[in-house]
C-alpha cells in the first residue's frame, strides 16, 4: 500500500473511531438527563418518607410474628476466611444477609395473610386455616399425594390450596409470590427436623 493510502486509511479509521466514541458519549449524555431527574425525585421522596422503604416490613412484623433467620455472627469471629476474598465476612455482609432474607419472608407473610394478594376470589387467605403457618408441615415434603396423583413438593400443595380453598389461579414455580410464600412457610418451621415423605 502506498504511504499516502496508508495515511488516508489511518485518518479514516481514527475519524470513524472518534465519531464512534462521540456517538456513544452523545448516547450517555442523552440518558443522563432523565436518570438524574429520577434520582432527584427519589431523593426528595426518601427525604419526605425516611422510613417508608422499611415501613411495610415494620408494619408486617408488628402484625405477625416472623421467625428470624439464623444468626451468622460466628463467622465474624477469629480467623474466619482470612486471606480469602469471599471467605472474609464483614458486619455489613451479616446484616445484609439477614435483612434480605427477612424481607422475602416478610413479603411471604404479607401474601399469606391476604386473600387479595393470593389472587383468591372467595375472600379466603392462608392464615384462615394456618395461623402463623401452623399445620403446613413444609418439612414433610416431598411426599406422595394420592389426591394429586404424584409426588408433591411444598409449592404443589401451596398451589392446590390456592386453587381450591382460596379459589385463585395457581402460581408458577418461579413466581415471586410463590417464592415468598415458600420462604415464609419454611421460615416458620425453623428448627424442625426434615422428615420428607411423612404423612
Amino acid at each position: 500500500m502506498s504511504p499516502d493510502a496508508r495515511k488516508a486509511l489511518v485518518v479514516l479509521v481514527s475519524v470513524l473511531i472518534a465519531v464512534g466514541i462521540w456517538g456513544c458519549a452523545e448516547q450517555v449524555e442523552t440518558d443522563q438527563a432523565p436518570k438524574a431527574l429520577v434520582q432527584t425525585h427519589m431523593a426528595q421522596w426518601q427525604r419526605k418518607n425516611p422510613d417508608r422503604a422499611a415501613q411495610w416490613i415494620k408494619e408486617e412484623k408488628a402484625r405477625h410474628k416472623i421467625r428470624p433467620p439464623a444468626d451468622n455472627r460466628h463467622l465474624l469471629t477469629g480467623d474466619q476466611g482470612k486471606g480469602h476474598v469471599y471467605g472474609s465476612y464483614t458486619e455489613r455482609d451479616i446484616l445484609m444477609w439477614a435483612r434480605e432474607t427477612e424481607k422475602l419472608v416478610v413479603e411471604g407473610s404479607r401474601i399469606f395473610h391476604s386473600a387479595k394478594l393470593l389472587g383468591g376470589t372467595v375472600g379466603v387467605s392462608c392464615d384462615m386455616c394456618h395461623p402463623d403457618a401452623a399445620n403446613t408441615h413444609p418439612e414433610t415434603y416431598p411426599k406422595f399425594q394420592a389426591q394429586m396423583g404424584r409426588v408433591a413438593l411444598l409449592r404443589d400443595m401451596v398451589n392446590w390450596c390456592i386453587e381450591h380453598p382460596v379459589r385463585g389461579k395457581g402460581l408458577a414455580a418461579d413466581d415471586p409470590r410463590m417464592r415468598a410464600l415458600e420462604a415464609y412457610i419454611t421460615a416458620q418451621r425453623k428448627g424442625t427436623p426434615l422428615e420428607y415423605g411423612k404423612h
Binding site: R63, V122, P131, D132, Q147
Partner: protein, 374 residues
C-alpha cells in the same frame, strides 16, 4: 379343622350350660340355686326379687348412669361472607340448619356460638339472620369478635338484642357472656373501622388486644348469679374460652381467673365456648369447659397450652371438604353436667360424656383417633 370365632364358642358354651342346668339332679340343683341366691345378695338385691340380675347396657353406666334431662343443639362460627363473594360458608351454615331441623325429637333450643359474619358487614349479619330464621326450635344467639368490631356491635344489637343475658330452663341457669371485649388498640393507630375489623379478624394478628370479659360484665355476672344457690346447675356460654390457652391466637380471656372466681362457689359449672373451631375439653376446679365446632373451617391445635383432657381430633384432610367442621348437641343432665356431642361432618360423631370431665379423664374416655394428628 375350621377355627371357630369367639362368638360361636361363647354361644356354644352358653347353650351347653343351659342344657346341663335342665339335666340337674336334685343335689346339684340346690347347689346352683344357693350359688345364684348368694350372687344376688352380693349384688345387693333383696329377695323375692328376680334371681337373674341383669346389668343393662354398659353404655348407660358410661354415660353417668342417668339419662339426660334435656338437650339443645348448637351451630357456631359460620364466618359468612355475602354469597356472591363466598358461597361455601353459606352452604355450610345451610347444612347445619338442615342438621338441626332434622333432629327428632327437636332440641329444646338451638344455640348459636358467635362469629356469624366474617367481617361484621351488615349484609353478612343480615344474611346470617335470614338463614337462621328457618331454624325450627327457639334460637339463642351469642356474639363473636367477627360480628362486633366493624361497628362495635351496633348492627348485632339491632338484629339479635343484648349481647349479655341469662335465662332459666328446666332448673338450669344459662348465662351468655360477651367475652371478646378488647382494650382500645385502634384509636392511637388511627385505624378505620374496616382496618380495625380486619385486624381483629386475623387470628394471628398481634396488633389486637387480648380478649376479656371486662369489669362491667363481671359485675353484671355477680349480680345475675347472686340469687342462685350453690347447687344450682349453671351453664355459661362465652365466645372465647374462659381460660388461658394460647395468647398468640387469642384463645384466651385476660380476666379468666376473675370470672372463674365468680363461678367458684357453684357445685357444677359448664362453660361452652366457640372461637376455637375444634374439639376442646378442659376442667379447672368445678368448671367443665367444652368447645364448639365451626361450620366454616377448622383451626389447628395450639402449639402450647393445650389442656390435658383434650383428646385431639385427627388432622382435618384438606382434600376432604368440610372435614373438621360440623355442628352438634349438648345433653344436659339433672346435675347440670353435660354430654357434649360433636357432630363432625364427614366423620363419626364424637361424644365427650359427663363422666369424662367429672372423673378428670379417668373414665368414659372418648375414642382416640386412629389417623395422624397435628
Amino acid at each position: 379343622m375350621k377355627r371357630k370365632s369367639v362368638e360361636t364358642e361363647y354361644m356354644e358354651d352358653r347353650a351347653a350350660l343351659y342344657r346341663s342346668l335342665a339335666k340337674l339332679d336334685r343335689r346339684s340343683f340346690l347347689k346352683v340355686s344357693a350359688a345364684a341366691a348368694g350372687a344376688v345378695l352380693a349384688k345387693g338385691l333383696v329377695p323375692p326379687h328376680s334371681f337373674a340380675p341383669v346389668s343393662v347396657a354398659q353404655g348407660a353406666e358410661a354415660a353417668g348412669a342417668d339419662k339426660p334431662a334435656f338437650r339443645f343443639a348448637y351451630i357456631s362460627d359460620s364466618h359468612l361472607y355475602e354469597r356472591k363473594i363466598n358461597d361455601r360458608f353459606v352452604r355450610a351454615l345451610l347444612r347445619a340448619v338442615e342438621d338441626v331441623n332434622a333432629l327428632d325429637p327437636q332440641p329444646d333450643f338451638v344455640f348459636y356460638g358467635g362469629d356469624l359474619a366474617q367481617l361484621g358487614q351488615a349484609a353478612e349479619l343480615e344474611l346470617g339472620a335470614q338463614i337462621l330464621k328457618s331454624v325450627k326450635a327457639p334460637l339463642k344467639m351469642m356474639v363473636g369478635e367477627h360480628d362486633w368490631y366493624l361497628d362495635m356491635g351496633e348492627r348485632w344489637r339491632k338484629l339479635f338484642g343484648k349481647p349479655t343475658y341469662s335465662w332459666d330452663h328446666k332448673g338450669v341457669h344459662f348465662v351468655v357472656l360477651m367475652s371478646v371485649m378488647e382494650r382500645d388498640f385502634w384509636t392511637k393507630r388511627g385505624l378505620t373501622p374496616m382496618e380495625r375489623m380486619t385486624t381483629v379478624a386475623g387470628l394471628d394478628n398481634g396488633m389486637q388486644s387480648p380478649f376479656m370479659v371486662g369489669e362491667k360484665q363481671r359485675q353484671w355476672l355477680k349480680n345475675d348469679l347472686s340469687r342462685l344457690a350453690d347447687n344450682t346447675p349453671l351453664i355459661v356460654f362465652s365466645h372465647s374460652p374462659l381460660y388461658k390457652l394460647y395468647k398468640n391466637w387469642n384463645f384466651w380471656t385476660d380476666d379468666a381467673e376473675e370470672v372463674q372466681a365468680i363461678l367458684k362457689r357453684f357445685e357444677n359449672v359448664v362453660v361452652i365456648h366457640g372461637h376455637t373451631h375444634q374439639l376442646l375439653t378442659n376442667r379447672i376446679g368445678n368448671i367443665h369447659f367444652h368447645g364448639l365446632l365451626s361450620t366454616a373451617w377448622p383451626w389447628p391445635y395450639a402449639p402450647q397450652g393445650m389442656p390435658e383432657l383434650t383428646i385431639q381430633m385427627s388432622r382435618p384432610d384438606p382434600f376432604n371438604p368440610n372435614d373438621g367442621c360440623g355442628d352438634g348437641e349438648v345433653l344436659v343432665h339433672v346435675d347440670g353436667l353435660i354430654d357434649k356431642v360433636y357432630n363432625l361432618w364427614n366423620r363419626n360423631p364424637i361424644t365427650v360424656a359427663k363422666g369424662y370431665t367429672a372423673s378428670s379423664g379417668t373414665k368414659c374416655i372418648p375414642p382416640k383417633p386412629n389417623r395422624p394428628g397435628y
